[in-house]
Symmetry: C2
Subunit: 134 residues, 2 copies
């Protein structure tokens, strides 16, 4: 655990959204943590993900996004704009996973991904329909 890696973790902990690697780099710069190179941030995030410390988030955009795994939560993913929103639900979080051992998969955690339209895109779509069929 080096200084740079600790700094990356701290930045992640300080956010409650899903930053991209480059956003982490920016945050580091903003904090005055000078000279943590991009490559290092990528490597650190990769390492954390392998260790299960952070999770790679489903990212419909081009950039990989990461989040610290604090508590179990779930995601709303917009099919149109790609926005990801977290939500909590105790019932979902209490789910019992089926036995996956047969395939040799070693589960660490799970989350439920709900695809659909976010509020903004749903509204926009409604407007379009109205314009086409007045």
């Amino acid at each position: 655990m080096t200084l740079q890696r600790r700094a990356v973790l701290e930045v992640l902990l300080a956010r409650d959204d899903h930053p991209t690697a480059d956003q982490v780099v920016e945050d580091l710069a903003a904090r005055g943590v000078s000279g943590v190179s991009r490559a290092t941030v990528f490597r650190a995030l990769e390492l954390f993900a392998e260790r299960g410390i952070v999770a790679r988030v489903c990212h419909p955009g081009a950039a990989a996004r990461y989040e610290v795994r604090t508590h179990r939560h779930h995601h709303l993913v917009c099919d149109v704009c790609g926005k990801i929103t977290d939500f909590d639900d105790d019932a979902l979080s209490a789910l019992q996973l089926p036995d996956l051992g047969s395939g040799g998969f070693r589960a660490r955690d799970f989350s439920v991904h709900v695809r659909g339209l976010c509020a903004d895109c749903a509204r926009e779509q409604d407007h379009e329909l109205r314009n086409e069929e007045p």
Copy 2:
């Protein structure tokens, strides 16, 4: 619905995994469907995703992956190698989602993502541990 888009859909239907856009391009070429440009494939996949015909899969790697939405299923995602495996589970598929209406989100479907180590990476990790502590 154009010829090109239909070809993209057919390629997706012919696979049971989660190809990237470029893999679709390769498949098209392999099928002899000459001259469907990369840009068109990207646009078609984007369009299908917006319409809910295909789903962007949670993709830990750098490239976006797509799958045709046939039946509801779930995913095992390896934290180390990023491999994604489908699995079926009737109990999970029968889940009742909580009411998300309050946030204005319009759900279309959901899937459960299980993070962890795939069989190969779990075995490899075991070997490493054994080497370090003989």
